[in-house]
Assembly symmetry: C2
Homo-oligomer: 321 residues x 2
Amino acid sequence: MAVYTDITDEELAALLADYDLGQAVSLKGVAEGIENSNFLLETEAGRFFLTIYERRVKAADLPFFLELLRWIAAHGFPSATPIADREGRILRSVRGKPCAIVSFLPGLAARRPTAAHCREAGAGLAALHLAAEGFPLTRANDLGQAAWAPMFASLELAAEALKPGLAKTISFDLEQLAARWPKDLPQGVIHADFFPDNVFFAQGKFAGAIDFYFACVDAFAYDIAVALNAWCFEPDGSFNITCARALVAGYESRRRLSDLERSALPILAHGAAIRFFLTRLHDWGATPAGALVRPKDPLEYERKLAVHRASPDLVLFGAPA
Amino acid sequence: MAVYTDITDEELAALLADYDLGQAVSLKGVAEGIENSNFLLETEAGRFFLTIYERRVKAADLPFFLELLRWIAAHGFPSATPIADREGRILRSVRGKPCAIVSFLPGLAARRPTAAHCREAGAGLAALHLAAEGFPLTRANDLGQAAWAPMFASLELAAEALKPGLAKTISFDLEQLAARWPKDLPQGVIHADFFPDNVFFAQGKFAGAIDFYFACVDAFAYDIAVALNAWCFEPDGSFNITCARALVAGYESRRRLSDLERSALPILAHGAAIRFFLTRLHDWGATPAGALVRPKDPLEYERKLAVHRASPDLVLFGAPA
């Protein structure tokens, strides 16, 4: 949850004066998104989200994210669309920080996803991959496989402090992943953070996705691997094969996986678990006291890593035969 | 900002099943109110606030707060009204904690109140005092003058740690306040926490108040004194007499102060500053690491106390001659 940057009523009025949205009726800081300051903004024209981008989002990446939102919305994917001001700008600034107003996306996140949610989420993820086809901008996955070893170099002590012996285990993981990481999978725009709290449902049906601030061009199947980690583990740490099967089947109801993609899922899921383990480990140490964000526990992903190491084929059972 | 208790989509659906509000369309944890978990809830019937009451609010006090909201709304004061379920209950529970659904109150808080805001706020405060007239329930001010000395007994070390010599100064304040505290002022239901972030405006006009969880029966003029502290100090710590004058004049446009009330404002303002100093000092030490609330700086109120000590008549200049 996050509201790092406040905005005064005067600053808001000055910003809105450049839009055709009328005057502000209400503004609520919302506990959503951990990277930015988010406000639910009601104006005379309706409801919107005002996002103020904080340091972790690179300003140079914002055109990619915002144009992507515009593109996928125009191509039928339910997501928040950036609203342009009267001069056509979708990226503005407030208090020296970039900001944007996007449309309000209704829907409820599934706090405890069922297999039915996983099927819908999988179908939604495929719909996103298809809607983004042809999007002309590109952005490398700066948290992709090539980034993990350099990232870990500064986190070895933190890993060891978390659990003795863990640094060596992770180093071995990274070697294995580097040696076996698949390079020739079909690529395109992926969400790269397709977690349950970023996916909305309406009456049990997929209703859209938010938080595209890790979106990039990478293997489509890697996006599924991120989702398998995020949606298909039980609170006790066990992998829920029924949920995984439903997620992949939902995905394949919209976009068929090739044999190459399917057989890559175990190593991709192992890698995706490394990616979230590493960023959580980093945030665990780096979050300043008094921050309004409670860092997420890196051990949750350490436990998932153990499952991928011990039973790499588990996630394959999620794929229909 | 605060969301202490999460609520799953299933728990929300189960709760809403007892109301005539249709199904949930969206739910956002909001950064508003520091005592409770607050969610902006949209259902098929419109927008509402769902509040889950946390430990700091005594369950026994909730009927007073919720019935008060219902009463003042019925008597023309713009505030969030509790919504009853099909059996007429306005107080429910979720995860073993009390909760309530109230109507959504539009409006924007003034982040940097001007004299015009202060005048409107003063008029709004008087309107609240008048709307609550005849409300049959009662609740003592458990953070009133009688509570300060016992409260301070456990905070002397914290005060001294904050600023050497401060414990003695506060002790002297408390003696003075106990000796001179006015007892015969007109009383009624007061808000007791009428701060700028609890007051909404629409196009510059008073549009309502929220967060009635300190409301109680006490002197009306004490509510003005709380507001003078909260609305009429500049960021540099100086007292803005223009704002104070506007606030009191706004109040008196709806409810005339007696001479006794007006002449009591300096000591009431001094006392109100003590009350917020003490609770902030308490929260400063008591907030657990990792809490999602940033405690408010007690030194802000220590500086206000210094103003009241040095120039007790300053707030009187706020009253029209």
